[in-house]
Subunit: 365 residues, 4 copies
């Protein structure tokens, strides 16, 4: 339900951006696995803002603490609760916005839905909520890596405001290449163009969006269900639950609609007893179920709603207001920080379906 | 889980294309509502193939029977079970395909996942599974219409193989306009172009895809949850669980990535005590929650995998095979039939979130 | 939720006693298992009333039809929908009761909860709803038997109105012994006493209750979860969801409260590398998890509410009414028919937890 | 699933007895309610051991911290995370037990299920896990009290080792009366007898069990569902999920089996437009749904497994071992501490069903 994701590997996140802390409870993590909390911390550091001039200057330490579920670094099979304290709260930052609905933010819809509005900012709609997701994915990744040799999930910035990076083979991109540059775009030659767009928008007090690509390799055949829980359906929900995402596609996605069936179909072939497809326009999923090829998808993120320009709005009484934001702590472009979020959601979906598939494997006649 | 969709309005579909029948059990339907089964039948007729030369010639009667949950046409608050018998089964049609994996079909992944393969065709991956979804949506629509004056959900063919229909105002399209033509495209002037593409592909034994747009009006502010169950996330999952869908976007979707924040933000305004937005680039959802504006989204459908050309494949033993399909019963283009499916999934998502929101409304302090 | 039971092996039942039919959709049944529908029918026959003079004379054929999920008698891993038509409906039987609330029936609570009341009798509170449960258990039992050699679940009438049967070793009772007599009590010497109580009550137009014992053997160590989904907790819910049940106990149950800890504890011992307990006062479950010993529990069933005596009640307007039931179709004692229901619920719980445990087994490091 | 309870008011507990802490995440708490954390602390104090000579001397501070979901003491409608740190850990206490399976404890079943065993004691089977349940119930109670005038839930020790307290009218017992004495038995005249049994067992290094009664008043008609989620079924699961519980009954429970239907049925009557029952043998629930009368139930707790006598057992290798526990921190009788746990589980069930029923109320035609 609202704050829980997954069925076999279920995560429940909690926390507002300005209360005691944010975190996650993972239920369904199998027992006996070694989990390195430093790797979890590394993930959180990747997600953290304040890393460079094109990211928000908000300085959050985001140290993760494990409250339960591990003993001597080994999973017990019990709920793993991970907590990150809120340190840099400064609720005053938002106080003059409290009575005004920021355009394209969740203020108006949240207040109308709940009848109460967190006085201190975005509440659960805050990107800070994703800390729990990322922490849970950092646990899941360690288990998947232990059980699926070859498993790898890498996302990267694919385009900024329509300016596309040039990546010939998504499968070959490594996380190190992505992390090597603050933009998280592995196109060494082209990324200066993309970065320039963000810098220009920032100077102008404006914001931009773009797309993130995600490639998942090392997935066995058989993950996903043929009806509602198709692998691409759960990936779509996962990605569209990220703040600011507006679109999702798998395989060739919208471009597949430009082709004939005879151009789009992936012929089967066989080599050394392993069946594979000659092409991979399907993006590694057929009939909702993984076919063993590379899974790739793309997510569209709108330009972030917080800008440093005067905007028209109304307050809770409906009175027109000119909104003049002071300098604050927001990214002009969510894309670099969203890269680990996209990876996290992909990993959570794969982990959940991998666990579900193990039940079928174990009950084979 | 796999065959259940929704949390408050939960539907569980069942049935293969060639067993006793297909259907749905609806759990969570509120009591006391008048349900017209003829309207359910009308929905099923819209979904049915065999309506024209650009649709599959398979003749299915698809008469719906209500097994439970209604008495005198009134919902009892108990599970509503709806059954459609399989009449035109002809499993022999598929017999020569049994040992060969059809390219971009679910044959290979299904067999590998389950260890068994329905000998009679596509099993649950069949579009026939969507009968249960459409029937459930036909029930939900009657309840939403009773409670939300102004509620309307209309989908239509938006483009075929890149050739776009010209629809100036999605909110103004009526279901009657859509149903008036076999293509289910309300662009009276332009749809001949789109139809010609399908006809040409059919003549060539090929298939094409395209996009379907969906507009939902009359939604109150407050539907959707701010974290995982964002309204757009549940819509994305719903649409991406339809056979052959490859992409989803809400509001301006991928096009939003081409804009500055200052261009994309929707300013708030107020009139007669009602707050609204001047523009609606967000597509009626902000922070995962409906804002009272028109909700619109688009879904990409790939060209259908069944074509009447020779294709390369392998059989279950991995031996290369030339696949030469005989004449069969498949659409060259899934789009017209997918229109009611898209509407159905949208309605199911709205119904579920509307029920969930009623709990909040009822428990207001 | 309301009409679904189980998490991994999920059953959703549907149907009122007087609509088109009753049935069940099973989701989560593993693929590749041979299911004999005649065994399902045998279970339904055991559940059926009209078998003797101490059971209701209502004649229901209760022929089960499988609508989906099986092909050639083999499970596909897809939902198994099982349907039993309602044949002997006679809604007129109940018509004079429609405006009066029968004492200790669900009439008053159902009407108040839903605002509508099935005009034709008990609706979902009818024992006929259990057809779906029993049919699902008949499927589950075949899978458990295939995978767990030694698995056996046998329930029997343990007492009638305080008169106890004498069963020295519940583990040794066979289903054949139970089925050999209409009372479903394997105490050959003593059951005449119990039967006489029922017959006397019937002559007097009255009803009686009693207890049913259930013994489950062949369960591996490890089923059940340590917190909310303790095996005994799920058994308790399962049994207390049966019509007319008022109490549940596992192991020595309420009698355990009469002992010292030193008398009640089950010492561990070991033989040929197998750890077991010297005694089994815990009833085969410790800390919510099966320990490999015999699981046994008891369920209390109240005297059925339908009696053939004049009773005081009120109608929907609150006006006092003397209720004078005519001859109808009800058992003076629910116990014999409840025996297969108790077995069914026990099997469903075991099946669900067995599947869940397979996920842990499959993901062992 | 395993660590989550409830559907509309969902609690997920986490924490072992010897990790960073224990706690709960509450999802589904409606927004806008004032929650007094001091009342939550009061509940935790009631649950805490170390209150007297008949309770365990373990001194736990158990201070609750709210991490999220409240702002200014008002619920936001977002997850409420409550954390209690583990302070008095002393894992060495258990070290010599690590290789030996304590009789009637969860050691053996836990190790076999998970393949790992918390080296520091009971893990999730610890009574300390119930902190999260009690804290969640303390929140729920404040909401129920705000919305249901007259709502009251009071449990008390009903018998110890077969020695019964004398309580004429369970509905009249107040929580203050229960809390006035360390035994939590409101029978002022008789409780010395019960206390003497516990004291004698403690002197002898032994333990005793007994029964707890629970009475819930002020419940509206209509809570509960007619099939699997009957109110008594969910109460049964709730109570049987408490450590050491072995039996549950509602209304007259097992004693109902001693009566004729004509003696057990509750006649309806009417007064001032309000329908009620003349007697209440059903315990306030009919057909799984509350009927507005007092709900009462009883729970059997076995004598606690930890005793201070020599016991036979085996170690993980199956080698026979004489178990000679040193002085430790355990109660000779779980009953007084279980009283708030029983209340907590009852409140959680009522809260969940009350929320569920609000959806029906809100969607009335």
């Amino acid at each position: 339900m609202p704050n829980t994701f997954g069925h076999a590997f279920r995560i429940t996140t909690f926390g507002e951006s300005h209360g005691g802390g944010v975190g996650v409870v993972i239920d369904g993590c199998p027992p006996g696995y070694k989990i390195d909390l430093e790797l979890v911390q590394t993930w959180l550091n990747r997600r953290r803002p304040g890393q460079s001039k094109i990211s928000s200057p908000r300085d959050e330490k985001d140290r993760v603490e494990c409250l339960s579920g591990l003993e001597g670094g080994i999973t017990l099979g019990t709920p793993i609760a991970l907590l990150v304290r809120n340190e840099d709260q400064k609720p005053g930052h938002y106080s003059d916005l409290q009575q005004v609905f920021r355009p394209s933010h969740a203020d108006y819809t949240t207040l109308t839905k709940y009848g109460v509005r967190p006085g201190s900012g975005g509440g659960r709609a805050s990107a800070r909520e994703t800390i729990g997701r990322v922490a849970a994915a950092a646990v899941a990744e360690q288990i998947l890596t232990a059980k699926l040799p070859g498993f790898r999930c890498v996302a990267y910035v694919d385009s900024v405001k329509g300016e596309a990076a040039q990546i010939d083979d998504p499968a070959s991109v490594t996380r190190d290449e992505v992390e090597a540059h603050i933009l998280r775009c592995p196109d060494q030659a082209g990324r200066a163009r993309l970065e320039a767009i963000i810098t220009a928008a920032q100077k102008d007090g404006d914001s931009v969006g773009g797309t993130i690509a995600c490639a998942i390799s090392g997935i066995p055949v058989g993950l996903g269900d043929p009806v509602f829980d198709k692998l691409e359906a759960d990936l779509a929900k996962a990605m569209m639950s990220l703040p600011a995402s507006k679109g999702f596609e798998v395989g060739l996605g919208f471009r597949s609609t430009l082709m004939f069936g005879s151009e789009h179909n992936d012929a089967f072939t066989s080599s050394n007893g392993r069946i594979s497809t000659v092409t991979n326009r399907s993006g590694g999923i057929q009939g909702g179920i993984s076919n063993g090829e590379l899974i790739y998808c793309r997510v569209a993120f709108k330009p972030v709603a917080t800008i440093f320009k005067v905007q028209d709005s109304v307050d809770a009484a409906g009175v027109p207001v000119k909104l003049r934001p002071k300098a604050g702590r927001h990214d002009p472009c969510v894309l670099p920080r969203a890269v680990p979020m996209v990876e996290a959601m992909a990993i959570l979906v794969v982990m959940d379906h991998w666990l579900r598939q193990q039940m079928l494997v174990a009950t084979r006649v």
